[in-house]
Structures are given as structure tokens and as C-alpha cells.
């Protein structure tokens, strides 16, 4: 089974996949607890706009996805916090709007090609060395910020109002969190695909919460679930020629069902 690691493309897929699993599960805990789970799904659709622009104009789809996702995350947070719009309404507008925009741009490019298919559902063959460098750079920065502000983000998730009155800079940290999530999602599209990354952010924390532990333990379990499922999903993808994103999400669903069965309440 380990012979799959002899292939350079699988080595790259595993490095990228494990990095994404770690980042997605850690940041996902915060959005799940804040009832903001659809943010990941929405930004994934927005990053598809970046990918489409990249394909149409011959630019790096990954960079374009990062830019599009970041801009959208700031707009979403601005509309939610400054204009007081309901989170789910803002997300619904961006989700459908960005998908419509992506489809129009893809139509302009003339074809719905195989390259776009791999961005939608992920492909273990598509991770290049350049992608790994970009992921390493942004991934490290995102992880550093998540660790630095872990306790503040937890406080905000638990009680935003009291966090604010205790002197924590809630607005700034909220913008930081959505920016980190935007970057993680854009980086994930090579391996998991835009249509499936939301699951990697949401299912591990939701499954871990079922075990009824404190936040620190829940986050560690969530990360462990994500790592195991990414390894299992990539392996299934290799042996059965499946799209990697779909294989990973199916493994996550198995983990979620297991958590539900073990912790019947």
C-alpha cells in the first residue's frame, strides 16, 4: 500500500492534503461554533470565480482564487458586522452570485474543460511543486495566526459581547478569521475541490463535538479526524481512480456517522 508514496504526485498530494486537513479542521472549529458553517461553502464558490478568471486570462488559477476569496470574505464580514445584515442572507447572496459569475466567465472561455473539473472536485494529479510552495507559505502564515489568537477566537466564539467588553479587539479578529478561512479554502481547491472543501472544514469539528469534551480536546480530535480522513480519501483516490475531494468527503461522512452512533444522546 505504501508503494503509492513512490510516486512524486502522490507525495505532493499527501503533503498538500495533510496541510489542508490541519488548517481546515482548526479554523473550522471556530466557524462551526459561531453558526457560520456556510461561510466555507460560500467562499469555495467564490474561489471558483478566481479559478475561472485565471483559466480565461491564462493567469495562475490558485492565485486568482486566493484574491477572489479574500475580497469576498472582507465584503461578507463588512456587510454582516457594519451593516448588520443577517449572516445567512449575506452568504446566500454571495454563494449563488459567485456561482453565476463563475459560470458566465467559464462560458466566455468557450468550454467546460477537464482543468475546471479538477478544480471543482479535486485531483491528486493536479498538485504541482509551485502549488506546494504557495500552500506552504500561506498555510504557515495562517497556522501561525490561528495559534497566536487561538484563545481570543475561542472567547469570541463563546461570547462575542463579553469578549469585546473584556478588551479583545473583536472586529479586527473577525476580519482576520474570515481572511484566514478564505486563504485556506483557496489553497484547498487543488486537492479537495471547490464544491467539497466546505465538508472538510465543517464535518471534523461537528463529529468531534459529539464526544462532549472541552474546546481544546475537541479541536485536537477534530484535527485527528481530518488527518485520518484525508489520508484514507487520498489512498482511495489512488487505488480506485476516484476524484480525491469526493473520496475525502465520503471518508468524513463515515467518521461523522461513527461519531453519531458512538455518542447517541
Amino acid at each position: 500500500m505504501l508503494e503509492m508514496l513512490n510516486y512524486p504526485f502522490m507525495q505532493r498530494a499527501f503533503i498538500a492534503g495533510l496541510m489542508i486537513a490541519l488548517l481546515a479542521a482548526m479554523s473550522g472549529s471556530f466557524i462551526v461554533l459561531r453558526r457560520y458553517s456556510l461561510l466555507s461553502e460560500t467562499l469555495a464558490h467564490v474561489s471558483l470565480v478566481g479559478v475561472s478568471v485565471g483559466i480565461l486570462f491564462g493567469l495562475s488559477p490558485l492565485w486568482m482564487a486566493v484574491v477572489a476569496s479574500l475580497i469576498a470574505s472582507w465584503l461578507i464580514e463588512y456587510l454582516r458586522s457594519v451593516h448588520g445584515m443577517y449572516s445567512d442572507s449575506v452568504l446566500a447572496i454571495f454563494l449563488s452570485g459567485s456561482l453565476a459569475l463563475a459560470i458566465v466567465i467559464v462560458s466566455l472561455s468557450g468550454s467546460f474543460n477537464a482543468s475546471l473539473f479538477s478544480y471543482l472536485f479535486g485531483s491528486i494529479l493536479s498538485v504541482s511543486n509551485d502549488d506546494l510552495i504557495i500552500m506552504g507559505l500561506f498555510g504557515s502564515l495562517s497556522m501561525a495566526l490561528l495559534i497566536l489568537f487561538f484563545k481570543e477566537l475561542y472567547f469570541i466564539a463563546f461570547d462575542e459581547e463579553v469578549a469585546r467588553t473584556s478588551g479583545i479587539r473583536v472586529s479586527l479578529l473577525n476580519f482576520m478569521l474570515v481572511s484566514i478561512i478564505a486563504v485556506i479554502i483557496a489553497l484547498s481547491i487543488r486537492v479537495v475541490g471547490t464544491l467539497l472543501i466546505g465538508a472538510l472544514m465543517v464535518i471534523p469539528p461537528v463529529a468531534a463535538i459529539r464526544f462532549g469534551m472541552g474546546f481544546f480536546s475537541t479541536t485536537l480530535l477534530s484535527i485527528a479526524i481530518a488527518l485520518v480522513c484525508v489520508v484514507a480519501g487520498l489512498s482511495l483516490s489512488f487505488f480506485f481512480s476516484l476524484p480525491s475531494g469526493a473520496a475525502i468527503v465520503l471518508c468524513l461522512l463515515v467518521a461523522f456517522i461513527f461519531a453519531m452512533v458512538v455518542n447517541k444522546r
Binding site: L33, I147, L148, F149, K151, E152, Y154, F155, F158, D159, E161, V162, A163, R164, T165, S166, G167, I168, A208, I209, R210, G212, M213, G214, F215, F216, S217, T218
Partner: protein, 251 residues
Amino acid sequence: MKFAPSLFEVRDLNFTHGENEILKTVNLTILEGEYCAIIGPNGGGKTTLIRLLMGLEKPTSGTIKLFGTDQSKFREWHRIGYVPQRSALVDATFPATVREVVAMGRYARRGILGFESPKDVSAIEESMAQMGVSDLRDRLIGHLSGGQRQRVMIARALASHPKVLIVDEPNTGVDVESQHRFYDLLRVLNKTKGIAILFITHDVGVIAEDISKLFFVNQTLLLSQTPQEMLRCDSMSRLYGTPAHVVSHNH
């Protein structure tokens, strides 16, 4: 003669929301070590007044000073413990142990990458012991009763070693017996630790005679007096805008 320093000083405070005048020309002072209550009818602006004090709302006009410093320049928020309305209503599955919730009270003091110091640990343990929740430390907050959760929230506020504790409508979601125990605890904190207390209630039945100041809020600060003066029919009628008969009884 020695004067206690003022913790809150509010002058000519006005707050409007759209066309609605929520609070008008409010003036109040709370001194160190005082045990105060804000009472008034629902919708009278009590919570808004507290939110203005805590910087969660911006006043339309007027000034607020915290510990002698203008609110916009005030940075030592850990000196104020705040327990908002409905804070005890926590999602049953939220992954937070009692110990983790109380530790949040120290976060603002720890700074970036600040790990828990021995001082933090002792403050957390001390505040849990004070509120009688040490035995619940590993339980999930959402699995506790309303009264227990209320005590955990106070322990969190106490962990930062505040000089003043603000509690908004502490009775929400808490049974009657726990309410009485809760007010006894507030009184003990005030008497033994010297922490100034400011709590909001619309229930005049919980007002004790040892309260230093009572603030009657119904759009404006109608009265500020002692419990003995307040528990008169004319005061109550003025506050609630309807004829009132006060019947006293012993708890």
C-alpha cells in the same frame, strides 16, 4: 474626610435609536465599593444604559468616565466584570468546560501567545472556589443547571480581579431558590472583597435594604435614592407610571 474614587461617572447622557429616544439626560455616579441596583420596567432602557457604560453602544450625546478616564481612552477593561443578560443560556453541546469558561476571564490580561501563568492559575482556581463551582471544573457548561451556569459566568468575571461587577438581569433562566442564593453571593463579594456591584432587575422583590444606591430608569433616570425611600408608593407610582401599593414581606 475621605472620598471613595468614582468608578462610573455619567453626565447628561442621551441615546436615541432612529427616531426613538431610549435614554435622555441621564446622570449617575457609582463609587468604589458601592452595592447598587438599577430597576425599572421592561423596555425602560436599563440594559441600554449598561451597554453604553460598557462601550457596546455609542451615546448620542453626553460623557461617560470609567475610573476617572474618558471611556474612549479607557483600556483597562479587565477592571470591570460584566455578565450580560441571558449569558447563562448556553447551547447544551457547546464544547466548553467550566474551567475553560472561567479561564476566559484572564485572556485579556495574558496578551498574544501568553500562556497561563501561575498567577492566572491561582486567579482561576480562586474565583471557581469563591463561586462554589470547583467541583464542576471538567463538566461541560451546557450540561449545568441555570443557577450553576450563572455562578460560572460570575466566576469568569471575577477571574480578572475586577473592581466592579455588572450583572444584567441575573434571574433569567434561574429558579427562585438559586436567585436568592445568587443575591447572597453578590452581597458577600461586595462586603468581603470590596467589589462594587451594579445589577439590573425589573423585580423590586429582590431589592435588599443594604443596597447603597438604587437607580430608577424609565427612559430617563427618574430617581436615585436608598431602598427605604424607594419602597414608598409615590416613588413606585412615579417609576411605573401607574398607581402602586407597596406590600412588604420577609423572605
